[in-house]
Symmetry: C2
Subunit: 84 residues, 2 copies
């Protein structure tokens, strides 16, 4: 595999899984005080549109990455709404 | 412009600017308690790799979006390290 493809894949994996520690921290601490509602509203909407975009152009990596990110980001958004 | 391109652009703008309200909130409140250090470490590294990827494949939208996101995410990471 080319070095460029490896860097792109690693970038996609990191930006996708990064929301997992935030989700876990929020579950454990039930505290979302310093998390921005505006950020998660805009971000979750944006990731949903990335998912729609991936489905429209039938791009499996875009669909897969944004499906995972959408699940995690919408969960964190739900926790923010629940514990605000 | 095709509807697919508009959705992709809107997705890119939303996921990029979404970190601005978080950065502003953090500046105002100087509180990063419920923000995950793990998330911002992984996310900032991932966005940096997206930037490297964009430079390697010479893709202006990837470079532009990730330059803005990298600036905002690394700023929030810095605030987390300062106020933790």
């Amino acid at each position: 595999m080319r070095i460029i493809a490896i860097i792109g894949l690693l970038a996609a994996v990191l930006t996708t899984v990064s929301f997992l520690p935030q989700a876990i921290k929020t579950i454990k601490e039930k505290n979302t005080e310093s998390i921005s509602l505006g950020m998660y509203t805009l971000f979750t909407t944006g990731v949903f549109l990335w998912l729609v975009y991936g489905l429209m152009i039938k791009d499996v990596p875009i669909i897969a990455a944004n499906l995972v990110t959408f699940a995690l980001a919408s969960f964190i958004l739900g926790m923010k709404l629940k514990y605000k």
